[in-house]
């Protein structure tokens, strides 16, 4: 009994000792350590290029390629095309977007029934938004219904969408959310991701992930040391450790 008690006490002491010994790293020490870490310029450039390409900043990417000599790893014209598709959906020109995707790569919509269904759904939503109820009705029968027959898993979403026809005031009905801009953005980002996948590119740029990892690593380190950490990612300023 006694020995167990002593063991507990000893462990407590050890934990206290650890807490007390939380290491303090001064700004000078920290900067010296950071200076020792070597980052290759080309790697930085590629990260930036990856960001520009994935986010679709074509002109910037082109300039950056010229000035830094970084290979974008992709035909920059395809970015313009991809951004045009995305923009068309965001503006509600779904048919235009579909034609553009098919010009870019006819396989995308032929092999991706879910995306095709979502684009057709968006077309229907746009018809409703523009008050073209009769056309919407016809479209639902001609285009949407066969998709539901071909693929049972679309049925639920299909029913929810077609329900828009049943309401006088569509913006204030239970499925009114479909008319939100967020629905357009959702569809646009799905098309964008499908195009990127067809080009074997990831749909998210690498930089945000690196920043997430930085925050995570700082949180881990916070438990063990006090050091100049970065609070504001936009300035990446080192802030003096609170002692």
């Amino acid at each position: 009994m006694m020995s167990l008690f002593w063991i507990v006490i000893r462990q407590l002491e050890e934990i206290e000792a650890m807490a007390a010994s939380k290491k303090v790293i001064t700004r000078a020490e920290w900067e010296k350590k950071l200076n020792d870490v070597k980052i290759r310029k080309e790697d930085m450039n590629r990260l930036v290029m990856n960001f520009l390409v994935t986010e679709g900043y074509v002109d910037a990417a082109e300039k950056f390629q010229m000035e830094s000599g970084t290979d974008p790893g992709i035909d920059l014209a395809t970015i313009t095309d991809r951004m045009a598709v995305k923009k068309a959906v965001q503006c509600g020109n779904v048919e235009d977007a579909i034609e553009k995707v098919n010009d870019l790569n006819p396989e995308i919509l032929d092999t991706n029934p879910q995306l095709f269904f979502h684009l057709q759904q968006q077309r229907f939503i746009e018809l409703i938004r523009n008050g073209k109820v009769e056309e919407a009705l016809e479209f639902a029968q001609e285009e949407l219904a066969p998709r539901g027959e071909e693929n049972q898993s679309f049925l639920e979403e299909l029913e929810r969408t077609v329900a828009l026809l049943a309401f006088e005031d569509v913006s204030n009905c239970p499925v009114g959310g479909l008319l939100d801009i967020s629905q357009r953005l959702k569809t646009a980002s799905e098309v964008n991701a499908a195009i990127l996948t067809s080009q074997s590119r990831e749909k998210d740029p690498k930089l945000p992930n690196l920043l997430k990892m930085l925050l995570w690593a700082q949180n881990q380190l916070d438990e063990r040391a006090a050091y100049p950490r970065i609070k504001d990612l936009s300035t990446a300023m080192l802030e003096d450790p609170a002692i």
């Binding site: 048919e95 579909i98 034609e99 098919n102 006819p106 396989e107 919509l109 032929d110 092999t111 991706n112 029934p113 879910q114 095709f116 077309r123 746009e126 018809l127 073209k132 056309e135 016809e138 479209f139 285009e143 066969p146 071909e150 693929n151 049972q152 898993s153 996948t197 067809s198 080009q199 074997s200 990831e202």
Partner: protein, 703 residues
Amino acid sequence: MPTANTIFPIHGPVDLLTRLDSPDPETKLKALREIKNQIIGNRTKKLSFLKLGAVPAVASILSSYATQSDSQLVDADVSTSSIIVQSAAVLGSFACGFDAGVRAVLDAGVFPHLIRLLSNLDEKVVDASARSLRMIYQSRLAPKYEFVQEKNMEFLISLINSECENVTGLGASIITHSCQTSTEQRALCDAGILKKLISLLEGSLSQKNATLESLAAVFKKNPEVISKFVGLENERAVESSLSQRDSSLESPGTVIKNNTESVFKFVGPESGSALSSIIELTKDRYARTRLLACMCLVVIRNASPNYLQDMGIKAKLVYLLLELLDDPGQVGDEASFVFSSLVAGKKDLQQLAFENNAINKFCNQLQKSQLHPKRLQGVLLALADLCSKLESCRLTFLSLKVLNQVIDALTHDCADVRTSACICLRSVTRSIKNLCAGYFMNEMLVIPIIRLLDDPSVSVQVAALGVISNIVVDFTTRKSTFIQCGGVKQLVQLTKSMHSTVRFNALWALKNMMFLADDRCKEGIFLELTGSLLASLISDPEPCVQEQALALVRNLVDGCIKSIEYVFAEDGTLLDAVGRQLHNVSDEVGIQGMYLLGNVASGNELHKEAVLQQLLAQADNGAQSFVIKFLQSSDSRLRTAAVWVIVNLTFPSCPGAFGRLVQLKNAGIISQIRNMVNDSCLDVKLRVRTVITQSMTFGDGLT
């Protein structure tokens, strides 16, 4: 009237087809684009355009512009190229995942033009043609590409070496589609294709996927090619492992250089090899790539048991495939098929899968409503394979209460689903414990199964017969349920089928029904079958059918004396048919025939005499008696069966035994048996000694 800003296609299909005929290239181009945009992703539209004859119309545009483009050589007109690109895209879309479309495209004779366009100077034309051809090659209807011919192999290699992603993809698709025989696999291997394919594994998403599929085709059931593949990359692995160590460890490097065996030990059989690059892809971001990598590994494992043997990789494959099953799309549908080929016939893997909750996972799928037919088929087949050998799997399956879902699948619209539901039930009904309890002999199961005997699809019929064969082996007296439901009539009908597999399976089921059946049951079946039908089945052209017919009669005459009378019905035509058939049969058929005669010979004096006459009857060509041939057979099971007949004929307490012994002796049969006293098979030896002991009771008069 439609207004200009209407969202509907301004032109209906008929109108668009007229526009295709326009002499104005601009109108043509617009019409092509519009057709393309209407049909992509839209099966109903593809079908309606197809019915209107759009495919031959577009094909002829492509052909004529392709010829035009050839003659223009360098400076192809922009509109010529655009028209070719658009028409190739239209044809490709018709061929995409749509068999009727593929057939129409092939019938339109456009294939050679597309091939020729691969050497066009315009990159866009090449890309579009390659993409369309790739679509065609993804269908099983595509023509086989004979790459074993030298010229074709050169062409294939040029495709694989291309810079254009769609062209390399096409090359890989051609391999996947056309590489079927081991000669073709070897030819690809000898042409150095493997090395190139390995490098494509590091390419784009679509290249990776196409390559994995083609590798699976090249590996399938070909351990030689697989070992070359692994060897190939081991060289590279050694190089890299050597270069890493060069600086620090010079001497071990030189030792290893020319010694593959030590290399094997050094880097391990799989590390750094081509195998590891495939294994790596099982962790890919994309589900489809993971699935195809798994498929490739399963093909390798099934062909070359030497590779991928460690427990880790087996468990990983089981785990990955079960995980992929959760994918809601095609990948999830296909995952069960790959899973099936992983566990089929392999007890260890079935056990491993069982421990990983595989039965529960597949059964959960069954409980979902409105499964895609492909998925349902795959899940049922996976369950069939899991339950094929292990009772623990069957019991878990039955405990999960999904039997009703499987029974529902028996009436599914899709024939493949019905077949796989039967195959699943066949595995599950192997559970002796539940069979004994009569668990499967209820109308809910029996009625739909019997209905399937009328199914228009032969494979469904055969699969249903497989289930029936199991459930009629019923040790209780519930066979009557099956008879009451009209099962016997149906089975007898199927023994007259044109397809030998159907005859074979129907007889198998009837044979199992006959097994230990009571007199009434036997009589019912025999009346339905009739002696003459049985006699003709015994003389069926297919040995497997003969064997089942004989085995059925063997079970029929087993038991009481009354049963034996069946073979004497209709003036003994049945017994004559047996005797006649035995003059020229395989060992398997002979075994059943001899047991049949043995059973008859266990009857009364008349029965024994009749069997004796069959044994002594000469073959038409005057060849040696079949019983001597069987006694000399190398198959101990056949020797045993043959000696049994003699044992029963010479049983000493029967009045005619001595006379029969004399006749057997005169025919040289007894001396043949005497030569067998030291037979290598204990069973044979024992029966031979019985015959000799029995003959001795008649004293020396015989010797």
